[in-house]
Amino acid sequence: MYQYEGHISRREGITLIFAVLSSMLFLQYPQFLVEVGGPAGWQVALVMTLGGMATLLPVIALIRRFPGRGLDQISKAAAGVVLGPLLTLLIATWLLASLVLSLRSFTETFIVTILPDTPPSPVMVMAVLCALYASYRGLEAISRATQILLPLIAGGSLLVLLFSLPRVDTSLLFPFWGHGLIPTVTGGLYYASMAAEAVVILAFGYAFRDPNDARSSGLVGTLLFGLGATAVAVVLVGVFGAPTASQNPFPLFNLARLIYLGRFLQRMESLIIMFWVFAALVRLAVLMHAATVTLGGALGLPHYRPLLFSLSVMIIPLALLPEDFLVTLRLDRDWLRPLGFAVLLIPALLWLLAVIRRKGGETDAA
């Protein structure tokens, strides 16, 4: 029997989901939104939020149907001992891919912005060591560390947005409908898969004492992330204009570099780098833990910890595989995000199977 450890509350769940998703706002994702929506990039963010919340509904329904259970147990119960682990394996693989690309993206951003002479491997090794330690300590340790770090990350980012407000030119947010309603909606729905990382609540489903907490964590966490993405898109376009913003893979960093309130307040990027490191570590730790726990369950291991070390060794060479930064961006945009939909379809499929096979919920209890 697989050994799950730790419990998290609703508040910790919301913090965890929000932290995992919002760390993407430091990376190239706001640029993707502006690329699709032009001046209406913020509308794409809103559609993305609603789409992301909608795609989470099957995940939540599944957790409610199988309270207190982890993904591997739910899969086995809903889809049987053959198909179940296979579907769990698919989710674990996607989480691993997301972890690998996140590691590479964060490493590239550090190298491009602050450490141009540093080879990527030392940065990756340090990041993976931190994530490994956090994951080794377990979900409770990660969620509590996130609770401490999130106010700093969110507060720092909010400060950058607030100090950027004097530079916002509202006319740059027009034409109001950007490239038109249809590209905005389709683009928003496409990037709804940005919330696919919220599938970690399914991996951590066992940790919620009350399944309603998982629902709040998923929905509120995604909603907060969406609002954050909308705010970043507004400020980014309002400051740089859509053509420049759509070519800006380091949005918060570049906004921080522009803060210039006389001689007194300049060079805020040194502050943002600190929050950036926190955000990167939280995201990597959560993804690593979710991927390991899920993979361990799918492989039928008694505990996730032995897997941690081998996975840690594996993800660094994998993260070094993409040839350059642009390949990393394209892999994320053109492969990881569409596959995110497939990952979100698996819980829907599991839920459907559970309903058809009358597994879980009151039926199962009976």
Binding site: G38, P39, V112, T113, I114, L115, P116, D117, T118, P119, P122, R167, D169, S171, L172, F174, P175, F176, W177, G178, H179, G180, V239, F240, G241, A242, P243, T244, N254, R257, L258, Y260, G262, R263, Q266
Partner: protein, 416 residues
């Protein structure tokens, strides 16, 4: 005990990080560039001048102390190179320190190069990690290298702080654009809702400044551009007016007075002292402190074949001096003066807009007020604002109210 060993081991591991990372560089190993000058090259594409700080000469109190001798606070080096980063690389070959642009505050571009529109190096300014988009862009009348070489601030020894201080004056004098940072320039070039405007500066030789740069002496205080002020003494740098661009190509210069009207239209005007012709005695003038009464209102009607540009500006003022001796505190006289000032400002604004239309450069940013009327980017691009702007009809409405009359109500009767 085991726990202590673990902690000890971790602390030992931390020692490894104390040596710093690959990017470690001691502060005294750097040569900090404070200003970059770019001119048209003769052997290569650009002639790039780097003004590097001599920290010991910049230290200490402004205007005194700090180091001795006649050494300048900046070390200048000019090099012909195909690019900015190329020049940086070449400089590292003989400067003897790591030349870094991390503290560069201003980018001076010669008028000759700006008029050629050959500003492709701006891509490097945006892309390169060391340069900041908050760098000021200043177009210089002379070669940028000559400007940097000859610049002599008299009330301080840090030339870059002096330039920075000059830029702060726009709030009080309204003779400089509100902003001329690379980020604004680039976003305007990319978005095309309005065209860029940058600071304009000139170096004046003593003889040149005494003759007022060849301009008539009876002009108002703000009608001059940098390098044309009729003056003696003070620093040899003049920074007044602005350089107008169409995309990345400079198309003309604006005088201080035109910049004031630009700021009024741009809703970035705070206050300024202005001189107007006296309506009762046109050969005399009336000095007024102008301030904004209400935010300026600009709107654009794009329904016709030609766009119609409208501007409503609301100002208030305080009389600072009346040369003619006319008592403008009398209600009828006050109304006449207000109407005259309104008319004079309206005429000047119309002239300014007409000039920008001749340049086909919407520096005022009427396009920013037109764009909300288009639902999509495609509709806006089809309308092709840059081609429509020069043909636009213009309507300007200025409202001016005299609020105060200085410390006395009636003027001195010097003429009696």
């Amino acid at each position: 005990m085991r726990h202590k060993r673990k902690v000890g081991f971790l602390l030992l591991l931390l020692l490894l990080t104390l040596s710093g990372c690959w990017n470690k560089i001691e502060i005294e190993e750097n040569a900090f560039v404070l200003a970059i000058g770019v001119d048209k090259g003769e052997q290569d594409l650009y002639r790039i001048t780097m003004a590097m700080a001599r920290p010991e000469k910049l230290a200490g109190k402004e205007g005194g102390g700090g180091g001795g001798g006649e050494e300048k606070p900046l070390v200048l080096s000019t090099i012909e190179a195909p690019s900015l980063t190329g020049a940086l690389s070449m400089l590292n070959g003989y400067i003897g320190r790591n030349v870094t642009l991390q503290h560069a505050k201003a980018l001076f571009v010669s008028e000759e190069l700006a008029r050629d529109g050959n500003l492709q190096f701006l891509d490097e300014v945006i892309r390169y990690r060391e340069t900041r988009q908050t760098i000021f862009l200043v177009v210089t009348k002379q070669d940028a290298s000559q400007f940097l070489e000859g610049m002599k601030p008299e009330l301080g020894k840090n030339p870059m702080r002096y330039i920075e201080q000059l830029t702060y004056n726009y709030r009080r004098t309204a003779m400089l654009p509100a902003a001329s940072q690379i980020s604004d320039f680039v976003s305007q070039v990319n978005v095309n809702y309005s065209q860029p405007l940058s600071y304009y500066a000139a170096l004046v030789e003593e003889e040149e400044s005494e003759s007022g740069g060849g301009k008539a002496a009876d002009q108002s205080e703000a009608s001059h551009t940098a390098g044309e002020l009729p003056r003696q003494g003070g620093s040899n740098v003049e920074m007044i007016g602005g350089a107008a661009f169409k995309q990345q190509k400079m198309v003309g210069t604006l005088s201080g007075e035109e910049i004031r009207h630009y700021l009024l239209l741009h809703d970035a005007f705070h206050q300024a002292v202005a001189t107007f012709k006296d309506p009762k005695e046109p050969e005399s003038s009336v000095s007024v402190r102008l301030s904004r009464k209400r935010p300026s209102d600009l709107w654009v009607d794009v329904s016709g074949s030609r766009p119609r540009l409208s501007a409503a500006i609301s100002l208030e003022g305080e009389i600072l001096g009346v040369q003619s001796g006319v008592d403008y505190s009398e209600p009828e006289q006050q109304a006449a003066l207000e109407a005259s000032i309104e008319q004079q400002i309206e005429d000047s604004i119309r002239t300014l807009i007409k000039r920008t239309q001749e340049w086909e450069s919407d520096i005022v940013g009427f396009g920013r007020h037109a764009v909300p009327q288009f639902p999509t980017v495609e509709a806006w691009e089809t309308y092709d604002w840059p081609s429509k702007y020069p043909k636009a009809e213009v309507q300007v409405d200025v409202r001016f109210t005299l609020r105060r009359f200085g410390l006395t109500l009636s003027p001195l009767q010097l003429r009696q």
